[in-house]
Symmetry: C3
């Protein structure tokens, strides 16, 4: 069940990566690379940092194959018809919620402390998109606006915090997914964002 959701997350993230690559007029190879990196980048960095090597997609081909298939499918279909943007955002929010929980759980199972597990959950959800943006020559969107990483952080904290009092893993997973999704979808709907840093030079003369 979790495994199927994981592959769904890989698929959705790969589609988002392929679309971003398409906007930059990359060729077929570039589209596939960006898609794979977006889908697997977060988990790869998590595994490297935790020393869980070889990284997860070396021993299970399905991850690479699903990501590459999603990229090819996007390449073929999106040439004809642009996918509905709202649907993609919602699917991406699901992917974020799933990756967050899987990352948190993997870190816990490797014996890290709770704080590190929460960070690893967020890293699993967020880093792929950051590498996608860097490879596309952009400043990572997630660093600039929108509540995205924050939703992931709260989801991971919910999962870990609830795990202290409730030993039913399914309930913990469900609550964490709901928390991440609720925050992320609310942020999309009402365009919520964190405060930005305005240094003195920008407000010169105002006070």
């Amino acid at each position: 069940m979790i495994y199927m959701l994981d592959l769904f997350g890989v698929f959705v993230f790969a589609v988002s990566g392929a679309l971003a690559a398409g906007r930059k007029r990359m060729d077929l190879f570039g589209v596939v690379v960006i898609a794979v990196v977006t889908a697997l980048g977060g988990g790869t960095l998590r595994d490297l940092v935790l020393g869980a090597q070889p990284v997860f997609w070396i021993t299970d081909h399905k991850y690479i194959l699903v990501a590459a298939a999603a990229a090819l499918l996007t390449f073929v279909l999106a040439r004809r018809r642009k996918p509905p943007y709202k649907l993609l955002l919602i699917a991406d929010a699901f992917g974020l919620a799933i990756f967050t929980i899987i990352g948190t759980e993997k870190a816990l199972s490797l014996g890290t402390t709770r704080i590190i597990a929460i960070l690893m959950g967020m890293m699993t959800g967020v880093v792929g998109g950051m590498v996608r943006d860097i490879l596309s020559g952009e400043i990572p969107l997630v660093l600039r606006r929108e509540i995205y990483a924050t939703a992931s952080l709260c989801g991971a904290a919910t999962f870990v915090g609830l795990g202290l009092v409730c030993h039913n893993r399914d309930i913990c997973i469900f609550a964490a997914v709901v928390m991440t999704l609720a925050l992320r979808l609310a942020a999309i709907k009402w365009d919520l964002s964190l405060p930005t840093f305005t240094s003195r030079e920008d407000t010169n003369g105002k006070r």
Copy 2:
């Protein structure tokens, strides 16, 4: 023999990195860093992902020294006289072919499956140039046009595929090098490239 070719590949990739750094008006340190990263980046990521640590250049100094020497030599010589561009492209194609085989073979020797070994071969050949471009503030060229990674992919697949039926390692290596070189040199000569992604917004109104 393979080891000498490997150092030749390091040398050629370092020269290409140093020239790219020079175009961006980097200082001597920047030129050396970009050269070393271009030459050793692919193999480093391969070793990290496979868990073959410490990475190869930690235990054998020659890699770092050859790359740094190539950068210094380029720094001194290219100030006077630009190297012939065609010669560089051909040398780079050789480097790509060599790195591809070495990466594929290392992955196989670490017990990965054949699919992963092919990917690792391509990663060894291609990632150094991608990091070079990112450090230079460019979208990686290899993602945008030209048959470069594709040549590496076909070379690695040839090596692995032929290995199934032919147990003479030298023949497999020779065939894989010829495959990579032929594709890459053909792409240079006739300016071949993969199709690019054109999303609907770009063809608006046409159909």
Copy 3:
């Protein structure tokens, strides 16, 4: 003592990262991420390459917490009042000196050769700032001008070289810090830099 200095280096580097993120108008999350990456990126890559996993900040929370606290403090305070630039540069030079020695020593304690230990010291000091610049959409400053990495390299070489003849660790550390600081502060004061690469196309027609 060294441990306290290490945390001081983390604090200073995190502040420099947070200020850089602020100039790019990132949101609160982006500021914290850039700060943490600037402070911990060099040591993380060092540990990955050497195979010293899990990386240092997984097992000791203080690093992440100090870096995040420095980012939040900078976020709150720098909105009101810009920190004195000169003071920051000097604090950063101290951080560079400390990170260089810690990186060199860690590599030696893991049994690397002296050349690799010097490189690891420089990597520990320099890579965080490079990733900060890449995430901010800039070509890393350290590759382009100013004697920064060179100061780190000379400090690491002093530490390793002196260690051959002098077995008092404190004296080696002191000498290496003085060497790094002296070079770096001299570079700041007199605006010293390494030669840059000028390829023939730029000097066309001159000779």
